[in-house]
């Protein structure tokens, strides 16, 4: 089934043009990969970026740039098998951390985006999560299962962007664990001491 919640056009445009912070781009990419609508939209933005590229003023190149390029053409290309596994299998995760009963998270290693915290969160079916607010922008793509919060119902492939003002308590739906890929700037803020400690232990 095609996803029903999509990134806003400005987010998709930033993604396609390469200007989105890489951690956030990873989360948008997780949605785009499984969303025919956004793939098409993204391709349209790429075409616009292509036009823009062709119209850019040229930066000065090193004097021997062309010669260097020509000299590299005969080098054997690296064997590069494209990884066609689903995203969930391709993500390189740090060890899982226990957050609460039935809940764990694992950071996705993104040294390229030290300010974006990217992680997987898994909540067992039927488990509550801590009510929390955000100290900054948060992107989320559901990879598996489904949850519901104040903004609606989000199933596998759906994308959600929340700003600093949202306080929510997501609840898993169905009988499958809910696994989401998140990117956040700033830390999550749980309501209450217990929730805060749980988040701190999990380092989210």
């Amino acid at each position: 089934m095609s996803p029903r919640h999509h990134p806003a056009p400005d987010i998709l445009a930033a993604y396609a043009s390469g200007t989105l912070d890489p951690g956030f781009g990873l989360v948008v990419g997780a949605h785009v990969e499984g969303c025919p609508v956004c793939r098409k939209q993204s391709a349209a933005f790429e075409a616009v970026s292509g036009e823009a590229l062709a119209a850019l003023p040229e930066a000065a190149l090193a004097p021997d740039a062309l010669a260097d390029a020509m000299a590299r053409l005969d080098a054997a290309p690296p064997i590069h098998m494209p990884d066609r596994r689903p995203l969930l299998a391709r993500l390189v995760l740090k060890p899982r951390k226990w957050v609460a009963p039935g809940v764990w998270c694992a950071a996705v290693d993104t040294p390229h985006a030290p300010d974006n915290r990217v992680y997987l969160l898994s909540v067992r079916a039927g488990m509550p999560t801590a009510r929390h607010s955000h100290s900054g922008q948060e992107f989320c793509t559901v990879l598996k299962g489904a949850y519901r919060d104040e903004l609606g119902t989000f199933a596998a492939g759906d994308f959600a962007a929340t700003g600093g003002e949202l306080e929510h308590q997501p609840v898993t739906l169905g009988d499958e664990d809910c696994v989401c890929l998140f990117a956040t700037e700033g830390r999550l803020k749980a309501q209450g001491l217990i929730g805060r400690l749980a988040f701190a232990l999990a380092d989210v």
Binding site: G50, L66, P111, D177, R196, A200
Partner: protein
């Protein structure tokens, strides 16, 4: 071919796909400076932009045979290669390879009965209280200030007249203790 009109970029790419070095040189002249310019706009310093541009142009050479003018214009295709070179670079840069090994999410066997939400929360809080009781008074104090009052470390240090490093190490020890205790219940 010498009909007076410059060959289109699409035409050049098709020739490059067949190994035409002359066509590559022409496309390089047309795009290398623009790609470097684009990369600098994304934030790459000039030297890195030059290097990345070279990587992107090498990708153009290697992948040109997969270019399909029906699917995309040459400029779009070139743009995607340049953008991906940038993103790959960002991803690769400073990557640590010291993972404990990647693993994928396995389908854990979950209990058939869905635990009652409130009961779980009460239980969690009870466990947490027991865990908190294992902390020393000074550890409790920093935990309280940091996570309940949400004070920055620097402010806690000032308030307790402690060096910042002491606050951080005290907090770390406290969290380790809590985690060890709490993980018994997971």
């Amino acid at each position: 071919m010498h009909d007076g009109a410059a060959p289109s970029d699409e035409n050049l790419l098709a020739r490059i796909g067949r190994g035409d070095r002359e066509a590559f040189a022409q496309l390089f002249e047309a795009y290398a400076g623009k790609i470097k310019s684009y990369l600098m706009r994304l934030g790459a310093p000039p030297a890195a932009a030059e290097e990345l541009m070279q990587d992107a142009m090498l990708s153009v050479w290697r992948r040109a045979s997969s270019f399909d003018p029906i699917k995309a214009k040459a400029s779009t295709w070139m743009f995607v290669i340049a953008r991906n070179a940038w993103i790959d670079r960002l991803r690769r840069e400073r990557t640590e390879f010291a993972y404990r090994g990647a693993y994928v999410v396995s389908n854990e066997v979950s209990d058939d009965e869905a635990p009652d939400e409130a009961a779980v929360r009460v239980e969690t809080e009870a466990h947490m209280q027991v865990a908190l009781d294992t902390l020393s008074e000074e550890q409790r104090q920093v935990v309280q200030l940091s996570f309940f009052e949400d004070r920055p470390h620097s402010e806690i240090a000032e308030r307790l007249s402690l060096p910042l490093g002491t606050v951080k190490s005290r907090l770390r020890l406290a969290l380790n203790k809590l985690r060890a205790h709490w993980e018994q219940y997971s």
